[in-house]
Structure formats: C-alpha cells, structure tokens
C-alpha cells in the first residue's frame, strides 16, 4: 500500500485522464452510431432488409460502446463474479428470448401464416 501511495499522484492523474477520455470517446462514438441509422431511415432509399441489418448492426456496436465507455466494463479488468453474472444473464436471455421467438414463429408458420413478417 505504501509503495502504491507514493506513486498514487501519477497514477491518479493518468486514471483521471483515462476516465475523462472514456466518457468523451463514449459520447462521440455513440453519436457516430446513432445519427447514421436515423439519417438512413429518413433519407435513403435502401431496400427494407438492408436498412434493418444496418440499424441492427449499429445498435449492437453501440451497446458494446456503452458497456465499455460508460459502464467501464471490459473483459480484461473485470472481476470474475461480475463477468460471470453478465455472461450468465446473456445466456438466460438468449435461451428465453430466442426460445420465445422460435416457438411463436414456428406456431405462426404452421397455424397463422398471415402473422409472419
């Protein structure tokens, strides 16, 4: 502890700048991933499926950006339990949400084709 305290001035200043930079980068990247999808839907004449893929991709990257730069979650520095909890929740979410979509759309395909997109 005493050794780290001696260096703490330097470390704190580095950490301070890194954390300020993190929020600024996060905001900049989030804007860069938010504005294009809105612009595309408003002004482009891309086919619908291409548009949906572009929107989905931007959203996915933006979620990662928010986790990384606003919530300060990175794979390398995170504590084990926190990371396990995130991975476990993601697994549950994929099982439940993916399972819902699978079952319901399979049902639509067999019984109510009009409900399919």
């Amino acid at each position: 502890m005493s050794e780290t305290q001696r260096q703490s001035g330097v470390v704190d200043d580095k950490e301070r700048r890194r954390e300020l930079g993190s929020y600024l980068w996060g905001y900049g990247l989030a804007l860069a991933l938010t504005l294009p999808p809105f612009a595309l839907v408003a002004w482009s004449d891309w086919p619908r499926v291409t548009l949906l893929w572009a929107i989905g991709l931007c959203a996915l990257v933006q979620v990662v950006v928010h986790f990384r730069f606003f919530l300060h979650i990175s794979l390398a520095r995170q504590k084990r339990e926190d990371l396990h909890l995130i991975l476990f929740s993601t697994l549950i979410l994929i099982l439940m949400a993916g399972g819902t979509l699978w079952i319901i759309f399979n049902l639509y395909g067999r019984m109510a084709p009009a409900m399919l997109p």
Partner: protein
C-alpha cells in the same frame, strides 16, 4: 498502470477509501438487479417482435410513430448519459460539490424533458387509435416503451432524493455509493433505449 476494477461503473478509488470499500458489495447487489431487469426488457422485446403483425385492423408502426420525436428523445437520453458520466467524474476527482451538483441538475433536466416528450408521444399514439386495448401490437408497445419511461421517471425521483441528501448531509459515504448505483441504472436505461429506438422506432419506420 490501471487499477483493477472492483465493480461495474466508475470505481471511486483511493481518494474515497470508505465509499470505495462500501461500493463493492452494494454495487454487486445492484448489478444483480440490473441484470434481472435486462432479462425482463429482453423478453418484452421478444414479445413485441411476435406481435408486430397482430394489428387487428388497427394502426401499425408507420401510422403511429414519428421519427422526429424519437430522434429528439434519443438525443436527450444519450446526452444525459454523458452528463451523468461527467457528474460521476466530478464526484471522483473534484473536491467541491458545485460541479457535481451542476452536472446532476443538467442530467435531471434532460431526463425530465425526455419523459415530457415521451408522455406527449403516448398521448399522440392513443389519439391516433393506438390505445393498448386496440390490438396485440399496441399492447406490446405499451408494455415495453412506457415501462422504460417508468424506469427513467423513477431514476429521476432517485436523483432528486440524492441531490437533497447531498445538500443536507454533505457528500458522505451513503450519498457517494448512491450516486455510483444511480449511475449504473442511468447508463443501463440508455442501453435499453438503444434497443427501443432501433427496434421499435427505426425498425417500425424503415
């Protein structure tokens, strides 16, 4: 030279030893709640997708949604996430309360205007014939988006309480750990909003 992270969100670090220590358990518990909330929202998203064509002859996304207000709401919430980040930064590195209070008030104002725009949107949606009782689609919409709005409203209330506590008790450990937890909720709600504006609004209008 980066110190390992003890919990999600901004770590208060050595300058706030007592609060930093107290945060570890508290924030982990709060993070468990956040993750359970993530699953609720994820399932409401899945439910919304299954109801996309369940219009029952009523209006659909293209009739109900307005791109302009969705865009304004998105900008308000994204900017508020950044200003909350600035508040957390001031909490950690500035000694006084002035800058922290400034950023918190800015964040609160952005959050409240977001709720204002959203309430106006819901009113418009209902006026256009998209009340929750109209169709499966309208029910799914009103199950998902207003629940997020309710979360934002609750977070605003929490922020007001924390500001009052800060003014009355000063920046003690309880207030500091509260601000760290509210930060998690606030950033998390912005992540849920990414899903809402992408899937519900842009997906519906594309």
């Amino acid at each position: 030279m980066t110190t390992p992270s003890r919990h999600p969100g901004l770590n208060l670090g050595r300058a706030h030893p007592e609060a930093h220590h107290a945060c570890e358990g508290l924030v982990f518990g709060f993070w468990v709640f956040m993750m359970s909330d993530l699953i609720i929202f994820g399932l409401l998203f899945a439910n919304y997708v299954t109801q996309l064509d369940a219009l029952a002859g009523g209006p659909g996304p293209k009739d109900l949604f307005e791109m302009k207000s969705a865009f304004i709401e998105t900008m308000l919430l994204l900017t508020s996430s950044f200003t909350y980040g600035m508040a957390a930064y001031c909490l950690k590195y500035r000694n006084g309360r002035g800058a922290l209070l400034f950023w918190l008030v800015v964040t609160l104002a952005l959050g409240l205007s977001f709720i204002g725009f959203e309430l106006h949107d819901f009113r418009v949606t209902i006026d256009k014939g998209g009340a929750p009782s109209q169709s499966g689609f309208a029910s799914a919409f009103f199950g998902l988006v207003p629940l997020h709005g309710l979360h934002v409203a609750t977070a605003c209330l929490w922020m007001i309480v924390l500001i009052v506590q800060m003014l009355v008790y000063g920046l003690d450990t309880g207030v500091k750990t509260g601000l760290v937890r509210l930060g998690l909720l606030w950033h998390f709600l912005d992540i849920v909003w990414i899903g809402i504006f992408s899937l519900v609004y842009l997906g519906g209008l594309a």
